[in-house]
Subunit: 363 residues, 2 copies
């Protein structure tokens, strides 16, 4: 028998889906991108993405309010649809509810989901609700649409394309560190008041992320169709490697071009953590990572909230971070959160993860 | 605080989805049928349904082989799409996997899902895979299609329509009783050999149900579009009440017209259980329940595997079972499996359920 952790999430998915036929004519693209692409009729393609969130693996109700959890659970699915250059339209919401939850708790969770749907113009069209013997289970599937000729996959990046990211990176991960730190500090204390002063942005990024609908709109307005795109849920480094692998290219990313917020930098200092490592590997930012042809450089550099961070190379160049001296190169590694290894590090998995990351890039 | 079991599954869903706007133009019908109906482009509508299955609530791995579990988990979703008069085309498969499962176990589960997809011509197009701290979690979403003018909902039944069911009823429920009985008998015994002689059909119906694609094809060939349809997952009685409520009608169903297999009858006798009660309330048959105009009677009665069991009345007549004397009437009640009450009856819930049902119809 083979332990699942020996394969990791992507390894297991590769194994399970190996040789899967895309048999029906309506299946344009199946497993392996932010969302599946289906073509039924007319000029619009249907996009489908799904997420399964389990208590104790993906969220900790000690510090995550149920309404925020609901909001985030919906938004991360919208983010996957935007990452295909599509628009999210509908979701289904399935809940497994253990006995310690009252109706009012589920109302709170659902209020967050409904709020996200209102904000993003998405309809809740179905779901399933059942008892769970073991904590809260949230499974959301999102359906979106895009004109068939505007869908952007991970596989279209070409050498000389420039690499862009939206917003800033590492803040959601630092927010998690703040929350974990306060959780530890609060242990056994009554009337504990957590200290979030100066960390408000980090907490917001962790608890109430937004999907970058605005960037998709900006790109459309500027008539720019990225050659490849995905959202950053597992960390920039991991996602860059995905795009490069699927596009059969390499990349160079400049360390001093990676956008990082001031609060993120302060928190890294407090934790004595390598800031660039955190920005490269911290997950859950839900920013967009995309590539555009070099010819679009002038138009894309002026887009609000978009940063040019590097360029695509031939495949044999590999994926590397160019140091702030402009010369030294460090190979990128995928250090993203591995939910299938989560059971192995039940005690403060995030902290352990960080240490591993820091030591990996110390040179 | 309100206990969730006080509302039940349908009560909770009603509460959570109350006043949900179907805001986007592409949402034709949201919550409240076997599947949601979406209209994007062209003449084809997109159907979406989803199911969340949790170990210990929906399945017991003591006697359910993983491959069968995978097959069934997929097929029950296909059944929901057929129940809209549609064709299933794609599924997403999300799995939460606890540490006691090895890769080979998940291979088995997935082999069952793949087999079902091959049999029914459905593609696996995505999913999510994660660790679970609490047993196996399976969340499947199925996407299907149907011509917009051929989609059949629960709400279209009209007085004088005739009521039809496919196949036979109660066998899956009796199969569960056999499996539970052998599980109890095997407790603490090594090398226990379960005795399934004469119960093969019941076991098959419970462990490897099929969706009635053939009936949908027959109806299409006969140019019959049902006025209302759903699949029987919670028991005939419960589903009839759904159709009548949504269509604002009543119904009369003849006790001696309800199709029951010989093995189901023998097992009811062995368990000293009311046979009709079991056929009315036993779930998981995944047969189709549908109504057609009276004018279609002659054509529908000759369809293979279809049984005419009663007729639709005005709403004020209510829903009733007509006894075998042709005169006595017993009001129908929804006694279907309530997954949100499952935690309250951890010890042999099915057995407790049956007793409650039997006593309800004893008069």
């Amino acid at each position: 028998m083979t332990e699942i952790s020996s394969l990791g999430e992507f390894g297991l998915i590769d194994r399970l889906t190996a040789g899967l036929p895309a048999g029906h004519a309506s299946t344009v693209m199946a497993v392996g991108d932010d969302a599946a692409q289906l073509h039924y009729d007319g000029s619009t393609d249907v996009l489908v993405t799904t997420d399964l969130l389990l208590e104790g693996v993906h969220f900790d109700l000690t510090y995550v309010p149920l309404k925020h959890l609901g909001y985030k659970a919906a938004v991360v699915n919208f983010s996957d649809i935007y990452a295909m250059n599509g628009q999210p339209r509908q979701i289904t919401v399935s809940l497994g509810i253990s006995a310690r939850f009252a109706v009012e708790h589920i109302d709170e969770l659902y209020a967050g989901i409904r709020l996200a749907c209102e904000e993003y113009g998405v309809d809740i069209v179905g779901g399933d609700t059942t008892a769970s013997r073991q904590g809260l289970v949230i499974s959301i599937t999102c359906i979106g649409e895009a004109p068939a000729d505007k869908v952007v996959r991970r596989s279209g990046a070409k050498p000389t394309d420039i690499i862009c990211v939206s917003g800033d990176l590492g803040a959601a991960y630092m927010g998690l560190q703040v929350l974990e730190r306060e959780k530890v500090a609060s242990a056994g204390q009554r009337d504990f008041v957590p200290n979030f002063a100066g960390k408000e942005y980090l907490i917001e990024r962790q608890l109430k992320p937004e999907a970058r609908r605005d960037i998709i709109a900006e790109l459309a307005e500027a008539s720019i169709v990225p050659t490849a795109m995905m959202d950053i849920s597992d960390g920039l480094s991991s996602e860059l490697i995905h795009i490069c692998k699927d596009s059969h290219v390499g990349c160079r990313v400049y360390e001093d071009r990676i956008p990082i917020d001031y609060q993120t930098a302060v928190m890294a200092e407090e934790l004595n953590m390598n800031l660039v490592t955190a920005a490269l590997n911290g997950g859950e930012d839900y920013e967009l990572l995309f590539t555009v042809p070099l010819a679009d450089h002038d138009r894309v550099k002026d887009l609000k909230g978009v940063h040019v961070i590097g360029y695509i190379t031939d495949e044999d160049k590999g994926c590397a971070l160019v140091g702030s001296d402009g010369e030294s190169e460090i190979p990128l590694r995928a250090q993203g959160f591995n939910p299938l290894a989560a059971e192995e590090v039940p005690e403060e998995p995030k902290q352990a993860n960080v240490e591993a990351k820091s030591s990996d890039s110390e040179k």
